[in-house]
């Protein structure tokens, strides 16, 4: 590399760093200002509120349940999408991404059409004696609907990266296809699967649009923040927001660290 070219690329990377800094600032600044706008006693008081506590707990467990329940079907399905060719596969892949591109309030309305008392699923549930709307089951369904694409696409990429030869070798060593899936494919794709699970969980936790349409009550934290903002104003919404964001940050940092340990499983 000649000195002038080197100088030019140095200038370019400097420019890119500057642009990157702006983007980072854009993300961090509102969060920092949110934290600075609350005093510590305010935050502690909010955290002590029964309503806030139960809403955070509800949000955490429903999003976790949505992730785990739907993972049972989504992970084998991702494997299928990674390994098999079938007619209209591209259409299927497009359908999976739909929840990401449609507005979440619209997604909520669409889902409501199926799970409300008049909907096909709702009716079935009604005859069995429970409702799918206005309770934690409805919240789980709404969360799963908008967040499942993240798990499927991440898990599919993970399975795609597993060399097929290893699966063939396992079959040759007398393993059944299900044993190959459980002992070779899934462990080797586990990093992507875990990060997909974390993403899905996170996405479900932060969901507002679809959840509010299916279940205003019981109140998940994003809905609680919205309600306090509407009823009492910015000042009252801030405290809940700060507590919830803090809990999210703690949980995800912990998950990332755990997933990182897992990364070295192959070495």
């Amino acid at each position: 590399m000649s000195p002038t070219i080197k100088k030019r690329t140095e200038f370019l990377s400097l420019l890119f760093y500057a642009l990157g800094g702006l983007v980072l600032l854009f993300i961090i600044a509102p969060l920092v200002s949110l934290y600075l706008s609350c005093t510590l006693p305010e935050i502690i008081d909010t955290a002590k509120e029964k309503e806030v506590q139960s809403s955070i707990w509800l949000t955490l467990w429903t999003s976790m349940a949505a992730t785990l329940i739907f993972a049972i079907a989504a992970i084998p399905f991702s494997y299928l999408l990674a390994r098999k060719e079938f007619p209209f596969k591209n259409v299927v892949l497009g359908i999976i991404d739909l929840p990401i591109v449609i507005p979440h309030s619209a997604a909520g309305i669409a889902l409501l059409g199926v799970i409300s008392r008049n909907g096909f699923l709702g009716k079935t549930a009604e005859t069995m004696g429970f409702s799918l709307v206005g309770n934690s089951i409805g919240i789980i369904l709404a969360m799963a609907f908008v967040s499942i694409p993240f798990l499927i696409s991440s898990a599919r990429n993970g399975f795609l990266a597993v060399p097929e030869r290893l699966e063939k070798a396992a079959l040759n060593l007398g393993a059944s296809p299900s044993r190959v899936f459980l002992t070779v494919s899934t462990p080797l794709a586990s990093r992507s699967i875990i990060s997909g699970l974390i993403l899905m969980w996170a996405r479900g936790m932060s969901e507002f649009g679809a959840v509010i349409i299916i279940a205003y009550h019981p109140m998940v934290t994003p809905v609680l923040i919205y309600e306090r903002f509407g009823a009492f104003g910015l000042k009252y919404a801030r405290g809940v927001a700060v507590v919830f964001i803090s809990i999210c940050l703690i949980v995800f940092t912990a998950m990332r660290i755990l997933a990182k340990d897992h990364k070295d499983a192959q070495r």
């Binding site: 290893l166 063939k168 040759n172 060593l173 080797l188 499983a265």
Partner: protein, 359 residues
């Protein structure tokens, strides 16, 4: 024991494997020799059941296994590149086929330990495969492949990914396994490798078996120029042998397809066939010499290449069109005779060195 019958397989209307048949008997070390890209690995995947053939049949011990599930075939396959499971330890890798077959825990431990003693990797039990050397992982791969005692073991270029220093060790291990009765089918593109381990050879040429036999048979009587070249015989001429001219003499004239005439010492009534001359038996000299060699030609040096311990000199002895003959020369002689490309020299070989094989 293993019978492959008229197996064919095409991809995109292109036949990669055409009517391949061969039989491997119990305890044989059978080598499939062929250049890269002739579908050797594909043939193995068909035998192991990973890919279905378009036609043909595979029999193992008298039963048709052509459509048997891959995990039920009991044919071990060692892939060309190392396919140990990277996420588990060496011990778990070797135990994998036993666990798949639901062998009892204590028996698994016994078997893995005895294999480790035998193949020499007991000290590597807790290592992850990516930390092993080429020779170490090949030993583990072989142990894993035989852990559940497959009837037949397929090895796809087992030595090619190894560095030169660990090859002899693995070769010795393969011979030892075969010596104990393990039937082995081994794919390679390297005839020296085939000779060093095999008892029987099949030569694959563009998707079909060109010749099958004992190693010595094929080296004594290669059926085509392709096979002859493949097994390292450089001088191969197809042509016609004249009948007896002088009574009580075994000296005959052989005319090649290119119109060259060689003197050949053979007891035969003549006919169509071919003549092979080992390049070690061809002498290069600066001038025509009085010697017992019946065949002497003037030629020009077309090429000089380093080959094994010496130099291989390619000489054009044709009159109208080029006819090449190879001679193995020491590098000392190359210097003393100052051999160089384009130089005119004399080439000679004895009538007894020209080996005639009837078609």
């Amino acid at each position: 024991m293993l019978s492959v019958k008229e197996i064919s397989k095409a991809f995109d209307n292109k036949k990669i494997i055409k009517d391949v048949s061969f039989d491997v008997n119990e305890g044989q070390y059978f080598v499939l020799l062929g250049s890269s890209g002739v579908g050797k690995s594909l043939l193995f995947e068909i035998i192991a059941g990973i890919i279905d053939p378009d036609n043909g049949m595979i029999m193992l011990d008298g039963t048709d296994i052509t459509h048997k599930k891959i995990q039920k075939r009991n044919i071990g396959l060692v892939f060309q590149d190392n396919v140990l499971f990277p996420h588990t330890t060496v011990y778990e890798n070797v135990a994998y086929p036993l666990k798949s077959r639901k062998v009892q825990h204590s028996d698994i431990h016994k078997r893995v330990t005895s294999l480790a003693d035998d193949f020499g990797f007991k000290h590597l039990f807790d290592r992850k495969p990516l930390t092993l050397s080429g020779g170490e992982s090949q030993r583990v791969s072989l142990a894993r492949a035989v852990a559940s005692e497959p009837k037949c073991l397929l090895l796809d270029e087992p030595l090619s990914s190894l560095d030169a220093s660990s090859r002899p060790e693995i070769r010795a291990l393969l011979r030892k396994m075969n010596g104990r009765g393990q039937t082995i089918v081994h794919i390679t593109h390297d005839y020296t490798e085939a000779v060093s381990v095999g008892t029987h050879i099949a030569v694959l040429e563009s998707g079909t078996i060109a010749q099958v036999g004992m190693i010595d048979d094929i080296f004594q009587r290669p059926k085509s120029e392709f096979i002859a070249r493949f097994i390292g015989i450089r001088n191969f001429f197809r042509g016609h042998l004249q009948g007896i001219k002088v009574p009580d003499s075994n000296l005959r004239e052989f005319t090649t397809a290119d119109g060259m005439t060689f003197s050949v010492l053979v007891d035969s009534n003549g006919g169509n066939g071919y003549v092979m001359i080992r390049s070690e038996d061809v002498t290069v000299s600066g001038a025509m010499a009085r010697s017992s060699a019946r065949n002497q030609f003037e030629g020009t040096i077309a090429d000089i290449v380093r080959a094994g311990p010496g130099m291989e000199v390619i000489l054009n002895i044709g009159r109208d069109k080029p006819v090449n003959i190879a001679s193995m020369v020491t590098s000392e002689s190359t210097k003393e005779l100052s051999l160089s490309i384009g130089k005119k020299v004399w080439v000679s070989f004895k009538a007894s060195a020209a080996k005639y094989i009837e078609d």
